[in-house]
């Protein structure tokens, strides 16, 4: 297979997830299956797509990390300013300083957790906990700000031969920033009273009313 396609093809797909998620959230793109969704529900769907794109991109960086631990990687360029080898392959900065876990693994877990909050809200916007979960997801995403700043600093200053720009790392950072932006707008809309309370799940009172009407 063409090496350039292997190196940059997945990047285009991952960035596509982020762009598609943002477009759906902002109502710039729709398909018949979601055309009757409320704007809030579309925002949540778009957020979920961005988060799943972030999860996949993080997994790709983890694969590069594992390959670079034993030799060269064919999943990303190793030469030039825009490359992964000097960043993800750096022995000092490719893992978190506390647990020693690869950053890709941390990204996967973080996006999976954010995805769980978002999917829960998306499936049941009517529940009492649903609106609170926006706040939980927002607070959980906040540590990503110093994380991104630190990793960009590492890329530009600390790694051997700096500056380097790791395209897949940057795609993860963009997905995280997009996630935070969408969470911010969803919170703002919710605070303005635009939360969508329609959904498949019905309240106890509704179920009771339906049972009574059937009895009659």
């Amino acid at each position: 297979m063409n090496p350039t396609l292997v190196e940059y093809g997945p990047l285009a797909i991952f960035v596509g997830f982020t762009l598609a998620g943002l477009a759906i959230s902002m109502g710039r793109f729709t398909i018949p299956q979601i055309s009757d969704y409320s704007s809030m529900k579309k925002r949540l769907l778009g957020l979920l797509i961005v988060e799943m794109g972030g999860l996949l991109t993080s997994a790709w960086t983890l694969m590069i990390h594992y390959q670079l631990a034993t030799g060269p990687s064919n999943l990303c360029a190793a030469e030039g300013i825009v490359q992964c080898g000097s960043v993800i392959g750096d022995l000092n900065y490719s893992t978190d300083p506390i647990l020693g876990a690869p950053w890709g693994l941390i990204g996967m877990i973080a996006f999976a957790l954010l995805g769980w909050f978002t999917l829960s809200m998306f499936l049941d916007m009517k529940s009492d906990w649903s609106q609170k979960y926006v706040d939980y997801a927002w607070w959980i995403s906040l540590p990503s700000i110093p994380g991104i700043l630190w990793l960009v600093f590492v890329e530009l200053v600390l790694v051997e031969g700096a500056p380097h720009i790791c395209p897949y790392c940057t795609a993860v950072h963009v997905a995280l920033i997009a996630t935070m932006y969408l969470l911010y707008t969803i919170r703002k809309e919710r605070d303005m009273g635009n939360w969508d309370t329609t959904g498949p799940k019905r309240s106890k009172a509704e179920l009771l009313a339906e049972a009574r009407s059937k009895k009659k």
Binding site: L62, M63, A69, T70, L91, A112, W116, L119, P200, K204
Partner: protein, 224 residues
């Protein structure tokens, strides 16, 4: 008995149905598929110091004629296969204050003289956490070069008294013990013989029936 509360349709009819559980299974499923794909497409390396494992990489400063940066994986060839030409790597872990290491200085010189043509030698100078085992980069250089310095062998012997010749191969700084920690250093001296692809072929603690010379002879063949 209700068992279907995780089904999406049940959210419509079951007051106990919880979308969070359904979401948990959904995200767990995605995460599992992605994790399995990662492990299949790019399995993590079997790193370690046991024989048969890939020696962990490390980066530090090395002194040969001056201090410069050093990375172990710059000296191994992952594509090497058995039967091909290639340079083996001998890692010698020492502490400049360790008397056993000090006394082995001549054996190290002899090994290098015999095998330098097809084995790269690297001494990793660490600092054991023992009384009077305070080393320094200067002491590492003086130990290697046999310079005048009274700080060797737990400050009891001058470095210029070390047996053997001046060691003409790189000495790597591990005063912060980072390499020793990664390699689970059992003590000093400690030796690892790596094949050209970085796989540990002999671990002096694991196969103590062989001495360093014997290991070199067994794996690399007769010395020069």
């Amino acid at each position: 008995m209700k068992t279907e509360s995780n089904n999406y349709r049940m959210l419509k009819n079951d007051e106990d149905a919880d979308a969070r559980m359904l979401a948990f299974f959904g995200i767990s499923g995605i995460l599992s598929v992605v994790a399995v794909s990662v492990l299949l497409l790019a399995p993590p390396a079997d790193l370690g110091v046991d024989e048969g494992k890939l020696a962990p990489n490390f980066v530090s400063q090395a002194y040969d004629t001056s201090w410069s940066s050093f990375e172990l994986y710059d000296h191994i060839d992952q594509t090497w296969t058995e039967g091909e030409e290639g340079e083996w790597v001998m890692l010698l872990f020492i502490d400049t204050d360790c008397s056993y290491c000090f006394n082995a200085g001549e054996e190290h010189s002899d090994m290098h003289s015999a095998y330098a043509s097809n084995v790269k030698f690297f001494t990793i100078a660490t600092e054991l956490q023992l009384p009077n085992h305070d080393s320094s980069k200067k002491e590492i250089v003086d130990y290697k070069e046999k310079n005048d310095n009274s700080g060797c062998k737990a400050d009891r012997t001058n470095c210029n008294q070390r047996p053997g010749d001046v060691h003409n191969w790189p000495y790597i700084d591990d005063l912060d013990r980072s390499i020793a920690d990664d390699y689970d250093l059992p003590g000093t001296p400690f030796y690892l013989l790596l094949s050209p692809d970085g796989i540990v072929q002999w671990n002096s603690q694991q196969s103590s029936d062989l001495d360093p010379f014997g290991a070199l002879q067994y794996h690399v063949g007769g010395g020069a």
